[in-house]
Symmetry: D2
Subunit: 273 residues, 4 copies
């Protein structure tokens, strides 16, 4: 199964004040596999432009820029473009299969095995189970902007019955792993999302391949562009301080695709570059 | 609605070793409302019989014997009998209504409002909601002896999908309170329970009266005899140390009723003396 | 030990919009034991004045007004005055001793026995332990307005290292109970508090009496006036919906005492009327 | 700094019954970096020997054998030997630095930042902080065999004040990450451990290198041999089912080193091969 979309333009602009100078990990660049053809990271500090170092590469082509920032006002802007040619589902490795059935910080699947089995254990195969999980989570949770805290995980989401995109993805991932289905968390640029922001979805391993699902159903999956891939939101935060302290003032994200295509109607099995 | 059962005999025998002398709260006596006609508490310490003081009375006729125990081997035995004449549902007070919609240690209903509404919020009235909760919990949870820890609450039970009688009751109480239905926890003697032990059920307030339910469905409700009534298992533990330290060796419970009657078939609205 | 303060004036004004009509429990009236000599509760609904019913009385003289409110804008205002004559510490009952060593929703002392013993177990007597707990909590926690959520308990506070007055009180109560020292939570009017608001403190049972402590150290204890007394904030919320739904617009509290007296310098053993 | 120990012999034997056939991930082989010179994995199924496939390799040279097991009794035995020549601390990568300051399932450092800063924030540098953390955890926790559950994390350990080796390591890792010090979890063979079993320690990144610490202080660190390295125990379980179901009957571990050397007295900065 292949999906073609048009040409995408991706932008993120962060404006922040560094109150304690130090290192900061930035995760806004499209993943290696996304195949961007132009890409530019610019950092403006209080006394002029700060050169960006090459990114550290984490598993699955995740690129992290580690910046060493001086105190004061800093603006970070990232811009990239890519062609949306056909995408083949990424095969999963034996190591993936092991890593992504394990519980993680915001997806404590070891505590949700009982409820996962009670809710979905009787379904015959992984694909039916994942589809049922996505439907259930889509139906049960209410999307409420600002309803969750950074330290909230899938259990909090299940109980509260509300959340934002990360919470929808965490709950799905946790149910999947509770059923021994490998599942992982992906941050993406999502053309068509409204209001525009960074977005989060999840991938489940079915028949040896990763497929992408989005229980929040807020944007067409076929035109999303992968940023970071990991166990849960702990692996994909767009900004984390490593000793520094900052006030994040504004985050502006933009992502467009021309022409916009949707293939949701044809299939729910979408693979992400 | 009235229920008549036969004559009940209740017994509890605890054998323990006091490793640090001090006070100990014992909650094995039938509640004031149970109307026992003979009752006897005997305590054998390492150097002979220890006289029992009159019980402290907690809300709802709960009787707590506070014992001051010397170090060494102690045997506590309680025996009582009662006639099971007709029982009228106990009216609930305004204070009950407020107290028993509040969250408590093992019934953190403030964290389960979202899930309670999603699961049962659409049902038309309190009685339908409580019946649906009892059915759901009865069906979802597996009774597994020894599966929970004393510090586990309703969230742990929901996630694990298994528990013992206290866990069934805690989960029901939490759902009820999440829907603003007053609900409380009751420890009981339960003739017919197998294996015999202390048992726990819950009461929900419906149309101004308390009715008793038991999602574990392990014993006939009509012949149960109330011991302690409270917010959750924190209020009904049959033994709690207040500064002392003990090793509990054995707990032997026996409860019989002659003739045994079951009214489960007629109605699910049972009131407990 | 007796304490005399001057004449206090207490005021609370709540402005809210009822979005779903129904019952609401209001807990702003001074407790029975506070001995107010004038007291007035006024409720203005969208179509005029709503008569207040007499309060339900909960344990320890806590008064709860249960209101049945129509949809629309409602203003609730409470005013009371009292003379601050000498106060004798309230004796504690056997039932208190049992109830207030139990774990509760926001004071899960059963999970903090280990840490409580490690931190304070070696101190010789209850008074030393309570004093050490209050000092430790006062020193460890940072008061940060808005830092906690209504569902946060003492564990969250301990880990976060910050909180508001309820969190300081919850953490102290939990440590006390973890050491088998009875402790309870009290909401109060606190002349001298800045910014003015409802306040929360705790009481510990020492040598058969209740003494009041405030690890937040934000107002003189000698002029505080008791509102509600209970296991933790679940028992003292100034407003709880019982089926109704509301938007709370503004809360205005005022409490003054003339002449203002402070006895903190003389003793830390303060009893609250 | 280099450390030399003698020749080690490592053995693990697991006896289990497969109740539902399927895949199982085994993590008992010494890590790639441990440089074993002889190594043998044997699997005996109900109808004879089962050939072992080559291990999947996870980050940091962790080797995982994925076995596909038939129903019935299975015995797995692993044997390896190595020379303990001098070991250089392993340099850490930029990716490590990012990954191991993130919170994980059993090390929720994002919830312990406040307490970590309050306890250790004032110390001047990472090495002082890690040493203080190890001392504090060693002193505060009591080693109690069987005291924790597989789902318990560092918060549970902190509160309970007791645990086993994994709990000591989890709590240290969580404190480190709460202070932005990269820290990771390592399962090891530990000659000298008594009673003999698999052991767990942690590594902290100090001045660009990984050093190993063991707050349980149960075995000499200089002769430990690395098995699996990861974020916490979720990454290092010696056995995990991937769809299969098993009853683990017995686990027998043996690890010896000749001659046994201890360098604890000289330095606490030990690097693990």
């Amino acid at each position: 199964m292949t999906v073609a979309t048009g040409r995408s333009a991706l932008e993120a602009e962060l404006s922040l004040r560094v109150t304690k100078p130090g290192r900061l990990a930035l995760s806004v660049a499209a993943a290696e596999s996304a195949g961007v053809d132009t890409e530019r990271l610019e950092i403006e500090g209080p006394s002029g432009s700060i050169p960006a170092v090459p990114p550290a590469e984490l598993p699955h082509g995740t690129k992290i820029h580690v910046l060493d920032l001086p105190p004061g006002e800093v603006t970070i802007s990232y811009r990239a473009e890519r062609d949306g040619g056909p995408v083949e589902p990424i095969p999963l490795t034996e190591a993936d299969l092991i890593t992504y059935t394990r519980p993680s910080r915001y997806c404590p699947s070891d505590r949700m095995i009982g409820i996962a089995l009670a809710d979905f254990g009787r379904l015959p195969d992984p694909l039916s189970k994942v589809r049922a999980i996505v439907s259930y989570v889509a139906q049960r949770l209410v999307y409420v902007s600002g309803s969750s805290r950074p330290t909230d995980g899938a259990l909090d989401t299940l109980l509260a019955g509300e959340g934002v995109c990360r919470d929808f993805a965490h709950l799905c991932v946790t149910y999947c792993r509770g059923l021994d289905i490998p599942a992982r968390f992906v941050s993406v640029y999502a053309p068509g999302l409204s209001p525009m922001d960074f977005h989060a979805v999840f991938e489940a391993a079915i028949d040896g391949r990763w497929y992408m699902f989005d229980a929040s159903r807020l944007a067409p999956r076929s035109s999303m562009v992968r940023i970071a891939t990991g166990r849960d939101a702990a692996d994909t935060a767009f900004l984390s301080t490593l000793g520094s302290e900052i006030d994040l003032r504004t985050t502006r994200v933009n992502a467009t695709v021309v022409p916009a295509t949707r293939i949701e109607e044809i299939t729910d099995l979408v693979a992400l570059a």
